[in-house]
Structure formats: structure tokens, C-alpha cells
Symmetry: C2
């Protein structure tokens, strides 16, 4: 969707917002200004405006801007994902209880997988992804599972032009990746043998909605030491069963809309 309808102040303000929200600490005007490469005055105005809107918080003591609480509220309130999450959580908990390993739910965003729910293993040694965290799609089991369900052209839009190696095992070429995805599609699940994180193995399956679109992926991850071939196969078949069940339990892709207006201006 290219566009001549972009409002520049908003675009720039969103850059500023992104800069602050992506940082792990509150930032000063100066800092933000150089980071987004916009004039100090401009950034100043945006920061004030964003604070006013409740998206950012301002600490007058230290003259720094941080993430506002409104965003935290929002982060949890995406209907489509909440629905997905609500459906998946019980299954994920059950899988964790049964196998004792971490279960991850992720969706594709551009070329990245975003984890939207995680049921953590109770083992002391466990994978530590975070809800909201991201990994390249092509290095993860979830990502590969989702990609494997896509048509060639669609797929390419979710793979970066340059495959960067995260570990020694990361696939380097598109050809290798295509092969791997084919294999994943035929066998019904994808694997990640330490391609994303050294020593961490994942088995992932796609979740496809009733219309056949792969909208998310489910995986179980564990340290290589705890995951031999037999256990991996067991995980895979269990994941597949769960994923198809979930897929059928999802809203058909045409929910109701626009019943009435609520809030006032």
C-alpha cells in the first residue's frame, strides 16, 4: 500500500514514539533528536504532544521521556490476537504440563516472528523468549512452519533479501531455505536445530484458519540435551493434533462488525 496520503507530522511523530518505545530506558530530548535525525525543536513538539496524549510519560525530575501506560493497556487488547491467544492458552498449558518444556505461540509480522504468548517450562535450564519479543522468521521453527504454508510469491515477502547467520547453523542461502520449507510442508512440521539460538532446538507447526491461511505458529522449544529424535517426533505429532484443533476453533474469517457507536467525542 504505497501512499500519497501520508501526513508527515504524524509519520515523524511515530518515528519519535518508536524510538522511545524501542529503547529500554527513558530518553532525553537531545538523545531522541539525534537518533531520529530530526531538528530538536520538532522533536520537542512531538514529545510534548505524545505526552499529552498519554502515549509517553515525562519525568520532569530528569527531563526524560518514557513509554506511557496507555501503550501497555493497548498491547494486551488486540481482539484478533486475544481471540487466538484465548483459544491457544489452555492447549499450551496442557502441552507444557505434559512435556515439561516451553511452548511458544507466534505470529508473522513482516519478516519477523512476534511471540504473543509463551507457556514456560519449569526446568531451570530453559529457553527464554519473551512475549512481544521478535526473531527472524527464517531462523525459527514457528517462522518456517508458517512460511511453509505459503505460496512462493507470498513467501518471498516475508524473507529478507540477505539471510544473516544467527548461529553457526543458520541457513545461509535461499535455496537451502526453500528445500527446508518444502520438507516442512510435506512432513507437516518445521524444525530449528540451533539455527536461532545456539543449543536450542524447536519443533513448530503452523496454525491455519478455516480459510486455509497460516495465521500463526506453535512450537515447543528445549535445550538440545533434552530433545532427542524420538521425543522430537512425539512433540511434532502432538503439536500437529493441537494445531488443527485450534485452527478449527478459530473464528471463521468473517466476523461481525460495526454494530453501533459507543464512546462520545
Amino acid at each position: 500500500m504505497r501512499d500519497d496520503y501520508l501526513v508527515k507530522p504524524v509519520l515523524k511523530a511515530m518515528q519519535v514514539l518508536d524510538c522511545i518505545c524501542s529503547s529500554d530506558q527513558a530518553l532525553s530530548l537531545q538523545h531522541v533528536s539525534v537518533e531520529v535525525a530530526l531538528p530538536k525543536t520538532t522533536v520537542f513538539r512531538y514529545l510534548r504532544t505524545l505526552v499529552q496524549s498519554g502515549l509517553l510519560s515525562y519525568d520532569p525530575e530528569r527531563d526524560v521521556y518514557g513509554v506511557g501506560l496507555k501503550i501497555i493497556t493497548w498491547g494486551r487488547s488486540n481482539a484478533r490476537l486475544r481471540n487466538l491467544r484465548d483459544v491457544c492458552i489452555p492447549h499450551m498449558r496442557a502441552l507444557r504440563e505434559r512435556f515439561g518444556e516451553t511452548v511458544n505461540l507466534g505470529v508473522l509480522d513482516g519478516a519477523e516472528i512476534v511471540y504473543i504468548e509463551i507457556a514456560e517450562s519449569q526446568h531451570a535450564l530453559r529457553m527464554q523468549a519473551k512475549v512481544g519479543g521478535r526473531d527472524p522468521a527464517y531462523t525459527t521453527a514457528i517462522g518456517k512452519a508458517v512460511l511453509s504454508q505459503m505460496a512462493e510469491d507470498e513467501r518471498l515477502r516475508h524473507i529478507p533479501p540477505k539471510l544473516r547467520a544467527r548461529t553457526g547453523r543458520t541457513l545461509r542461502s535461499l535455496a537451502q531455505l526453500a528445500l527446508e520449507l518444502d520438507r516442512a510442508r510435506t512432513q507437516g512440521f518445521a524444525e530449528d536445530n540451533g539455527e536461532n539460538e545456539e543449543g536450542s532446538i524447536c519443533v513448530g507447526v503452523p496454525i491455519v484458519d478455516p480459510a486455509g491461511a497460516p495465521i500463526a505458529g506453535l512450537s515447543i522449544s528445549a535445550p538440545a540435551a533434552r530433545l532427542d529424535a524420538a521425543r522430537k517426533a512425539q512433540f511434532a505429532s502432538m503439536l500437529r493434533r493441537v494445531a488443527t484443533e485450534i485452527g478449527q476453533g478459530l473464528d471463521a474469517p468473517r466476523p461481525k462488525m460495526m454494530t453501533q457507536v459507543r464512546r462520545q467525542a
Copy 2:
């Protein structure tokens, strides 16, 4: 912080964003336009711009706009809160194991308490607040605990002019509330006897940082049937112990800043 430096396009775009993010379903242009009371054309431009920035998602199939994934990522990445959460979570889990009831962590935002972490009871009958959810400060144990630590003038800025009754028990007058807050301060914990949710009882304590500012509150909630006076007292004393420990474990309120610039423009 009143301001003459507000950029109107940004302000209005944030209204649009808020409208979508606060809704539990994706919304059409038309819908948003009437809800925020801005001309169709204007809203159209903002929506496009926000999609472009990755804050909103667009479903061309149904012509509706929803919350973008970026926001979910952001929601989990507030340094100050993450720090607070990281410190609190183990304690909260421990409390839940020990007492079997739901433990809530909330911070004050304006006149509301926002729950930023919850350790849920395993009882079938349990309180069901959600992370990111909000309640008026003056009706909750966490809110009252936090308010009780504030000076009179500061406090007033976090109490709405009109106290609306959530249940038959909700305090109706500022005088009553002031009395209750005084009691909370002297006894070191606050109570909510079904004032926020019928049949739900809470015990809450403030978490104060090393500088003495009440930055959050911790509470245990349970159905009235499971929470007699003795158990309530037990919870309160345990909560107080935990809260002081947490308070001391927090960053002293003057962290380091602005070491160097990272991302490029």
C-alpha cells in the same frame, strides 16, 4: 504540563489510534470517523499513515483497521515497569503458592490503577483482572494503598471529582474516602470489601521506592467466602513484608542515562 507546543495533526492521529486500540475489534474508516468526530478525509489520512508506521494493521479484505503488532511489542518493553515487574514476579508467585489466591501488581495512572502483572489463583472461583486492565484507584485496595502514602494535594490529583459507585459498597464521599485512607496509612495496608466488584475482597499494600514515593501497589484478592478476618490479617502482614523488601530492591530513583547513541536514522 499545559502546552502551546501541541501539534494538532499528531494529537488528532493519536485520538484515532486510541479509538482503534481501545476497541476490541477492527474498525472501519466510517466507524472511526464518527467515533472520534473528525471528517472522513482526515481520519482516512491518519489511518493510512498509522498503518504505514506499523502501529495499525489493515485488512484489505474487510476494509478495517486493527491494532498493529508493534504496539504489542512495545507494551512489554517499558524499562521502569519491567524492572518493577521483574523484581515483583518471584515474590508474587511465592505468595500465590503459599496462599493459593490471586496476587495483583498495579500502578497508578491518573485516577486509575493499571494492572501490570497478575499471578492467578488456581481456584476455579477467582478474581479475573487482566494485565493492562484498569479500575478506579479509589475503589481498589491497591489504589487506596498507593493513595494513602500521598500528601493531601498530590492525592487529590488522582481522585475523580465525582465518586461513582461500582457496587453497593463503594465509598460515595471524599470524607469517607479520606477517613479510609488515613486508616490505611496507620495500619499499613488498605482493604477493598467488595467496593470494586461484588463479592470480591482485596488486601493491598503500597510499594515505595527508596526515595519514599509510592510507585505501585501489591494486593491479594479472593472471594469473600474464602477470606475471613484472620486470613486477611495474615495476608496483610505478609504483603507488607514483601512490599518493603521489593521497595528496597528497586533502582534508586536516579539511574544512569544517555551513554551513547545507538540506532541510526
